[in-house]
Structure formats: C-alpha cells, structure tokens
C-alpha cells in the first residue's frame, strides 16, 4: 500500500461524497446526506493515513521531513484541513447540507494535486529545515480551511436569499434543505471565529520564523503582505458583525471576498508574483 494509491482513493471518496450531497439537495432524501458525510469522514481517515504514510516514505528515502514542503503536499494538506473543519462543524451542528458547498473545495484540491502537480518527494531545501515549518504551515492551513468553509456557507446564504426573493418559500424548493438565513449567518461567523485566531497564529509563527532565520520578522514580501490583506478583510468582517447594516448579505460577501484573497495569498502570490515563498508553501 503506497500513499499515492491512498490519495487516489481519497480523491474518489471526496467525489462520491460531493455527489451524494448534491443528490441530497436535489432529492431531500436524508439518507443521501448521511451517506455524503459518512463518506467524507471515511475519506478524511484514509487521507490521514496517506499523509502519515508519505511522511514515513520520506524517511525510507533518507530525506525524512513532514509532508508540507512543496505545492503538491500543501494542496493535499489544504484538502485535508477543509474536510477536517467541515467534519468538526458537522459533528457539532449537524447541518449535513453544508457538505454540498464545502466538499467541492476539498475535491478540487485533491483532483488538482493528483492530476496536475508533481507528487515526487523532494529533499528539504535549507530554508525550510526548521521546526517552525510545522507550526507555521499547520496553523495557516487550518485557518485557510475555516475560511473555505465560511465561504461555502456564505454562498449558501446568498443562494437562499436570492431564491427567497424570487419565489415564496415552500418544501419543494431547492433551498428546503438549507438552514435558515439566521443560522447560516451565524455559522459563517462561527467558522471565521475559528479561522481568524488560526490565521493570526499563522502570521505570528511566520514572523517568528522569519526573524529567527533571516533577522526580520516582517519584510513586506508579497506573501506576507497578502496574508495581512486577508487578516484586514476578516478583521473588517468581525467588526461588521457589530456594525448596523453589515450583517447578513454584506457579511456573506465579505466572507467570499476574504476567501478569494486567501486563495490569492496561497496560490496567486506563488504563481503570479515573486518573493520569499517560491517553494510553494
């Protein structure tokens, strides 16, 4: 059993899970929602094993390091954290249907990693040989994942709002399985409440590492600046909660813009701009 095979099975599991959730939204058959989340949990377990196995494989190659060192590994880890955060939310609040709007992100990540990225295990370049790598990457990606979940929930909020404006609510409508607008707004806030402290920790551990390795905790490198932009947007979101007229639709849009900025911070900076994070983490 290799990690590569397990990652392929994981990708397939996330695909099936997503399709179950879509069918659940269309048919409102509860069993499909349960199946969707059960398969997502199964996939999460497989992926956890696969990541552990890849870690072990790197040691067998004599270049042992945590599997968080290049674009392939970070995309896989991002998928893992998205499903993890969704899983925690599912266990706590049991709104299955959110999976229909979150699993596509996880699937997209895994599919891109498996089909489009170089999955070879490379030795760690000197710049990454530090324990800070682990703390920095884990906190950042858990934060990103919480923002992905918040973005999915915000899209649901907007769909629900548009739908309700055009057609009166009834049991047959496509949004019948959705939680109420108030609950969605609250869940959006709760996800960002998880993501924001983690992003803050991610930026702080990044600064600590930069100071330790380069002697500057902040150098306005594009990656750093974009992480700060993301932080500003979510800080604005949190203050929007207590500002009149900013809850609901505007908050949902802020959350979506925040996630778009997050994705640019993660991928856009590496693919389009130049800077210190050129190894793809």
């Amino acid at each position: 059993m290799t990690s590569s095979l397990l990652f392929n099975i994981t990708t397939f599991a996330y695909l099936v899970s997503m399709l179950c959730f879509f069918a659940f939204v269309a048919s409102r058959a509860k069993v499909l929602g349960t199946a969707g989340s059960a398969i997502a949990f199964g996939g999460l377990l497989l992926q956890t094993i696969a990541i552990g196995l890849r870690w072990k494989e790197s040691y067998s190659l004599g270049i042992g390091h945590a599997p968080l060192s290049n674009l392939y590994e970070s995309v896989v880890f991002f998928s893992w954290t998205i499903v993890l955060i969704y899983g925690l939310l599912d266990l706590k609040y049991r709104y299955r249907v959110i999976g229909a709007f979150v699993m596509p992100f996880a699937l997209l990540g895994m599919a891109w990693a498996q089909l489009g990225l170089d999955s070879g295990i490379q030795p760690l370049v000197p710049a990454l040989q530090s324990n800070w790598l682990l703390y920095h990457v884990i906190t950042c990606f858990l934060g990103y994942a919480a923002f992905a979940v918040a973005c999915g929930i915000s899209i649901m909020y907007l769909i629900r709002e548009i739908h309700e404006r055009s057609t009166p609510a009834n049991d047959q409508s496509i949004v019948a399985t959705f939680p109420s607008g108030r609950v969605l707004d609250d869940l959006n806030y709760k996800s960002i409440m998880i993501g924001f402290p983690l992003l803050t920790l991610g930026i702080v551990t990044g600064a600590a590492w930069a100071n330790y390795a380069w002697g500057t905790y902040w150098s306005w490198d594009p990656k750093e600046t974009w992480s700060l932009i993301v932080w500003f947007i979510y800080a604005a979101f949190l203050h929007a909660r207590i500002t009149r007229g900013w809850a609901g639709r505007r908050a949902a849009w802020l959350s979506i813009v925040g996630f778009a900025a997050t994705i640019f911070c993660y991928l856009g900076v590496n693919l389009l701009l130049s800077g210190l994070h050129s190894y793809g983490g």
Partner: protein
C-alpha cells in the same frame, strides 16, 4: 467654548470612535496594500525599468509607490487606525470597567425584564433556608455567590470570567504594542549585510540605508561550505564563525557553525547565513595557435572579460585538478562561456597543461589559442546582520494578540442572579457571548434547582 465648537469637537470625537471609520480603514488598508505586491519595492530591478515608461516611473516615484509601506499616506492610515483604536477604547472602556468591578448584585424589577433566561420556581420553605440551599447549588454548579439582603428578600449574585470583557481591548492594545515595537526597531536597530572571505575578519557593517556601522567587535569566517543531497539539490550552507574582541577569540564564540535557520547572536547583533560566493583571480594566456606572442588575460572568479576579437568571455567554474571530473586528464582547468559575434554562446573547458585540447577551441576564440594558467580562489560567506531592540516588544504584542483573540472569541462573561423570597425563587442570567450555550446551561441549572429544592421539601 461655544455650543457650535463643542458640537464640532463632539462630532469629530464621535467620528474617531465610530465603527464606520474602522471598517473604512480596514478595507482601505486591505485594498491599497495590494499596490506594493504588484509594484516592486526598494531597489528597482533593471528589467522592470525597461518595461515602464518615464512618465509612469515619475508618477509612481512621486506617489511613493516604490516604498509604499513607508510612504506618508500608508503611515497616515496606520496612524488613523491607531487613533481609532484608542478613541474606541477610551469611549467604551469605563463602562466595561464598571460592569466588571461594580457588578449589579441585586436583580431589580427593571433589570429582570432585560434578562432572556428568567425562571420563577414556586416552592415551600422560608427564605433563609432556601437561600442557603440555592447558594450551595450555585457554588457547586457555577460559582460562589455574593448574598445581599434587601426588603426582606435575599439576592444571590454569581459570575464567571468577568475579565473576558477586557479581551477585545487587549487585542486592540496588542496592535499598538506591535506598532511601538516596530518603531523602536526602526529607530534604534539596523539591518545590514557583510561578505567575509574565508580566513578574514570584518568589523564594520554596511546598513541598508548605506551607513557604515562599527560593530565594536569583529567576526572572522574560518570556513564556508556547501553540502548537497545525492540529487544535487543544496542540503546545507555552513559558515564557521569566530567572534573577535581586540583581535582575540571570545570564549564560547570560537568556531561556531552558522547555518540557514540557525544564526549566531553576540551582544544583541545577530548574523544570519544568507548567501555565499567565490572570489579570486585567474590568469589566462592568449597567443597565436603555435604559442607565440602570448598575452596575459586576468579574469575574476565568476567575472568576465573581452577576447582580442571583441567577443565576451565569462568564467564559470575552475578547479585546481581536473582529474576529479575527467579521469585521464590532469592539472588546473576552467569552464568558460564565450559570446560569439553571431549571437551564439559556446561553453567549453580550458586546460592549463593540454594545449592540444585547447586548440580545438580555436574557432570560438577568434583563431587565437586560449590557455588557462591557474588562479587563486577563496569562498566568502554572505551574512545578513540585524540588530532589533524592539523585537521583544513585538513578541509581547503578538502574545497579547493571540491570547486576547482567544479570550475574546471563546470566553464569555456569564452572570446569574437569584432572588429568594418566602416560597419563590427567581433565577435570571445572561452571557456576553455564546448565548445558545448559556441558555442550555441555564435550563439544566433550573431543572437541578427545581429537583433539589422540591426533594428537600419532602424530607
């Protein structure tokens, strides 16, 4: 002060306290920060200068786009954010402080109406017995209550984590602390760079603002080395450094290995492994194909020169003994690249004691014979040097921020009031956050109170 002035001041004050300003500043900061990630910052690379028109360059320079994070308008926005933070805190903190230090300990009729979790329990027993029982239950389930007696009724008040209300102000304060740390660093610290050849020492640093700074001691590079993985990727860059005071090695700072991610700190100044290179001089001769009319040509390590026919030559790599790479051959050799007149680049090896092989390169060197004579080469290490006395302030700010955000999001000030009269117990409570969770807690507490008060009734 006239009424007009007063209201003018008042509206300015309200403006600085407003959340609208906060939202505006956060969103504006997010948007304009993008500029500096698209436009290069600091020293402009020549490739960039070729792509930009003169007018645009002048405009960007005038607007400060090439150093935007230190431009007056960016600093102004950060200052406004700081004023906004301070003003909000001055406005709201006194009330919050009062809520914490002078809690309302008696649930009056007016106060009662504001509580969403309110239950009245009808039971038997006189007020003082009930008071003791309720106090015991509160202490066990929640927190030790404060008991006040007014108008023949007993009022119990218990609370948890009242200071969590301060968390959001701690986060705001932490932003200011980080700014202060950054200001201290920029006023009293510096960043610089030094190159030290192997075996030599350096006591002065050129800072980024082009000032020469005397370290007060010297650093000697004993050795620099690069290790590689089997696939050729770099594994480790290592300098062996010694700190010298008055020319003598300092105890504990003698031959310290410094690698990427593991710097050396001495007297508050830190040295980071950052780059490396070679320097030295190499001698070549250019002669007629038969060796007559030799002329000497000196090229620096990784440097370039012109051949007699005007084509450029770059020195890429040299070795004192080629046999390691090409068994069967011996002596010094140099790898060079020649830029031919037709625009082509030709890479080849020049030997010190193999004229026959060197003659094969005649077509690339304008018909002249190029030979390598040898050279001396040293590695040098490139170290980033930093002194930042404000960094600890920044870490204190970061710690405060992380703890503050955690407390602000996940800790709630919960308060419970109980009024005990003869035959009636009224319970109310509220929480600053997580109302849902608190409601469930209150329902459980009320059930427990009902059970225990009625079971003890029947004894």
């Amino acid at each position: 002060m006239t009424i007009n002035e007063q209201s003018g001041f008042q509206s300015l004050w309200d403006y600085f306290c407003s959340l609208k300003l906060t939202m505006f500043l956060l969103i504006t900061l997010a948007i304009i920060s993008i500029i500096g990630t698209v436009v290069p910052q600091g020293a402009l690379p020549p490739e960039y200068l070729q792509t930009i028109s003169q007018n645009k360059l002048k405009l960007y320079q005038a607007l400060g786009f090439f150093d935007m994070y230190h431009s007056w308008w960016f600093i102004l926005l950060l200052s406004l954010l700081s004023i906004n933070l301070i003003a909000c805190s001055i406005k709201r903190l006194p009330l919050i402080w009062k809520t914490i230090t002078q809690p309302v300990v008696v649930m009056g009729a007016g106060h009662e109406k504001t509580l969403s979790n309110l239950t009245t329990i009808e039971t038997r027993g006189d007020a003082s017995t009930l008071r003791d029982r309720v106090a015991a239950i509160l202490k066990a389930e929640f927190a030790d209550p404060l008991i006040t007696e007014t108008d023949g009724a007993f009022h119990l008040f218990a609370q948890k984590t009242p200071w969590s209300r301060l968390a959001v102000y701690a986060v705001h304060l932490s932003v200011l602390v980080i700014f202060i740390g950054a200001i201290i660093g920029s006023l009293f610290g510096y960043k610089g760079f030094i190159n030290i050849p192997e075996g030599e020492s350096v006591g002065k640093v050129m800072s980024r603002s082009k000032n020469e700074i005397d370290l007060g001691f010297a650093v000697r590079c004993e050795k620099f080395s690069v290790a590689h993985y089997p696939n050729g990727a770099p594994k480790e860059f290592k300098s062996i450094l010694t700190v010298l005071e008055n020319g003598q090695p300092v105890q504990g700072y003698n031959r310290v290995p410094v690698i990427v991610n593991d710097p050396l700190t001495y007297k508050g100044i830190t040295f980071y492994q950052s780059s490396y290179g070679k320097f030295g001089e190499h001698e070549f001769t250019i002669s007629d194909p038969n060796g007559r009319n030799p002329q000497s040509l000196i090229i620096q390590s990784n440097g370039s020169a012109k051949l007699p026919d005007g084509s450029g030559i770059c020195l890429q790599e040299t070795t004192p003994d080629i046999s390691r790479f090409m068994p069967g051959l011996s002596g010094p050799a140099a790898q060079v690249e020649v830029h031919l007149a037709n625009g082509e680049n030709k890479e080849f090896i020049v030997f010190a004691n193999n004229p026959a092989m060197n003659r094969m390169n005649l077509p690339y060197t304008g018909g002249k014979l190029l030979q390598y004579r040898g050279g001396e080469e040293f590695m040098y290490t490139g170290l980033q040097v930093a002194k930042d006395p404000g960094v600890w302030v920044v870490w204190v700010g970061c710690l405060l921020m992380v703890v503050g955000i955690y407390a602000a999001f996940f800790m709630s000030h919960r308060r419970i009031w109980v009024r005990v009269e003869n035959g009636t117990v009224t319970v109310g409570g509220n929480a600053s956050k997580n109302q849902g969770g608190f409601q469930i807690f209150m329902e459980r507490l009320v059930t427990k109170l009902k059970d225990q008060l009625s079971s003890e009734d029947n004894k």
